[in-house]
């Protein structure tokens, strides 16, 4: 929609219609001390040339790819985005991705969502996926809500302490004001979740474990599932890096009831943290308890294939306050991006790409080991791992920033016990030269 500012004539006509003399009269109900007295301090308007120069200067001030070599992951991953994806996404047919209630006029969008669901279900190895949620963190919180809905009268959920700390904080925000209790499972010396406490937790509705976890370590989802199921609780397999399943066993093959997480890796730019894509998939038994939109394939009166919103009776426009979730729109455009990305890269491409991520990460690990840097955990990883840098690297970290290298994420703010520990991420965007240079800088 184009933006037309109101003219003085428009404003006068509207004031006349509502029967108010001036704009000041219209706002008279707003208390005096809530109103701004001074004009906004805005800079002078710039010419287009000046503005471009200004914006470029701002962007150069930030540590972003490709100017910087960024070894950060921790929930947001730097992946190459095929030009075909960016191009297709700019087509005007897709620019309004709002909920397609009307199948008569929305077959294209509905089919795209259906393809997205199919691709997600296949990648995760689950029976059925929804048409997306806001992001990985809210998907996890919704998975917990769904668990309470299935395991009625249970009041406790357990979350691994090596689920992304930001996700845990979102879960906390959801449940802190409620009667439900969140129990955190500690991590073991090998960097994976300590599952031994699960058996002791009362009124347990669900257990959430992330794999690869925040430290990059692969978790034993099978055992986590067995421990949860022994308590008649659900297992939620959470993830921040779905590309890992190009190489690793997908969550579905290891028995979780719900698999959910972040889909940013699938062709969505990092954009300094958002928008993301909440991927959400469940076992078929739970499809009616699953939050969010679901698109199904059906036949029309002439027997032709068509796509419609299905099981919509679970949702809030019909079921009001008893709906399966309060997600009213979804990340339609981001889901579409992920579908385009998965279709462009293909099954073999995703496998190759995942292999490349893992191999490059292993190469860096090996070179760092040779250089005397200690790995914090010996558990297998995908494209992220934790290193323990020698003391004094803090100064070096700053120095490297000056050389346009972001040498990983310091873990102290999230895990005070992990001084000098850094989470490093290596994706396909890094070359061997980049990795060699990083090792040389760190050990020089």
């Amino acid at each position: 929609m184009r933006y037309f500012p109101h003219t003085d004539e428009d404003i006068a006509a509207m004031l006349k219609l509502v029967g108010v003399g001036t704009l000041e009269d219209l706002f008279s109900t707003i208390p005096e001390d809530c109103r701004r007295k001074k004009a906004l301090s805005l800079p002078e308007a710039m010419t287009e040339w000046d503005l471009n120069r200004h914006m470029r200067a701002l962007s150069l001030d930030m540590a972003a790819y490709p100017e910087y070599k960024v070894y950060l992951g921790a929930g947001s991953y730097e992946h190459y985005i095929p030009a075909a994806v960016s191009y297709l996404l700019e087509r005007s047919e897709f620019s309004t991705a709002y909920t397609p209630y009307q199948p008569e006029i929305s077959q294209g969008t509905l089919q795209a969502m259906y393809e997205y669901q199919t691709l997600v279900a296949r990648l995760l190895g689950m029976d059925v996926a929804n048409a997306s949620m806001y992001d990985g963190a809210s998907a996890l919180a919704e998975a917990f809500k769904m668990s309470f809905n299935i395991k009625r009268k249970r009041k406790t959920l357990a979350i691994s302490g090596v689920v992304n700390p930001l996700y845990r904080s979102v879960v906390e925000t959801y449940f802190a004001p409620t009667e439900y209790r969140v129990v955190e499972l500690p991590y073991l010396q090998n960097g994976t979740t300590d599952l031994s406490g699960i058996a002791e937790i009362e009124e347990l509705a669900a257990v959430a474990v992330q794999s690869p976890n925040f430290f990059g370590c692969l978790e034993d989802l099978q055992s986590a599932g067995e421990a949860a199921h022994l308590k008649d609780a659900l297992l939620i397999a959470c993830f921040t890096e779905p590309l890992a399943y190009g190489l690793l066993r997908n969550p579905g093959s290891q028995g979780p009831d719900i698999a959910c997480g972040e889909g940013q890796s699938l062709g969505i730019p990092q954009s300094f943290g958002g928008p993301g894509l909440g991927m959400f998939a469940v076992k078929k038994d739970y499809v009616r308890k699953m939050p969010g939109r679901l698109v199904g394939r059906t036949k029309d009166l002439d027997g032709k294939d068509g796509f419609v919103l299905t099981l919509a009776t679970r949702e809030q426009h019909i079921r009001r306050e008893k709906a399966t979730s309060n997600i009213c729109s979804n990340q339609g455009l981001c889901a579409l991006t992920a579908a385009m990305y998965m279709a462009s890269v293909g099954g073999k491409g995703i496998r190759d790409l995942a292999g490349l991520n893992r191999d490059k990460a292993e190469y860096l690990k090996e070179r760092l080991r040779e250089a005397g840097v200690k790995m914090a955990f010996e558990t297998p990883t995908f494209n992220e791992f934790v290193v323990q840098f020698p003391k004094g690297l803090e100064a070096k970290y700053e120095e490297l920033l000056g050389k346009k290298i972001v040498a990983g994420l310091p873990l102290v703010p999230y895990y005070p016990e992990l001084a000098h520990h850094y989470l490093l991420c290596v994706t396909e965007t890094k070359t061997r030269d980049d990795l060699d240079a990083l090792v040389a800088e760190i050990t020089s």
Binding site: R288, T313, R314, I318, R319
Partner: protein
């Protein structure tokens, strides 16, 4: 949807304002929904049943019925423990439409307080109640 006169309301069951019925059989109470309720809901495609052994108070929600146009909650006509569920409904939910008082029963309850049945409506009171809803 049908007129009230076209619907069937047996004498041997008792009705609730939420349109469930209860029927005493061998010391237990069978529970289902009335012909009026199934007619209002339309084609029922899924019945969410409680687990056997679950205990509820009178008026508690014990399950849901999903029709092509809505999901409705099911409420206990009397309090007690669920001792049986109609597992045929898992594959044939349409029995609730075609045979609401017999093949389409939903759960069987061991009532905590048998006198709660007396508080439910008989056929004539229920039909009067329906006339109030539906002119």
């Amino acid at each position: 949807m049908k007129e009230i006169t076209e619907l069937s309301f047996p004498e041997d069951v008792r009705y609730t304002k939420d349109h469930e019925w209860g029927k005493s059989v061998d010391g237990k109470v069978k529970v289902g929904i009335s012909d009026y309720a199934q007619d209002q809901l339309g084609e029922i495609v899924f019945v969410e049943l409680p687990e056997v052994g679950a205990a509820f108070e009178k008026g508690d929600e014990f399950g849901t019925l999903e029709s092509v146009k809505a999901v409705s909650e099911l409420y206990m006509p009397v309090g007690g423990e669920v001792v049986g569920v109609n597992s045929q409904l898992e594959d044939s939910p349409e029995l609730v439409n075609s045979d609401p008082y017999d093949g389409g029963w939903i759960i069987e309850v061991a009532a905590g307080d048998a006198s709660e049945m007396d508080g439910l409506m008989d056929k004539s009171t229920y039909v009067e109640e329906l006339k109030g809803i539906k002119p």
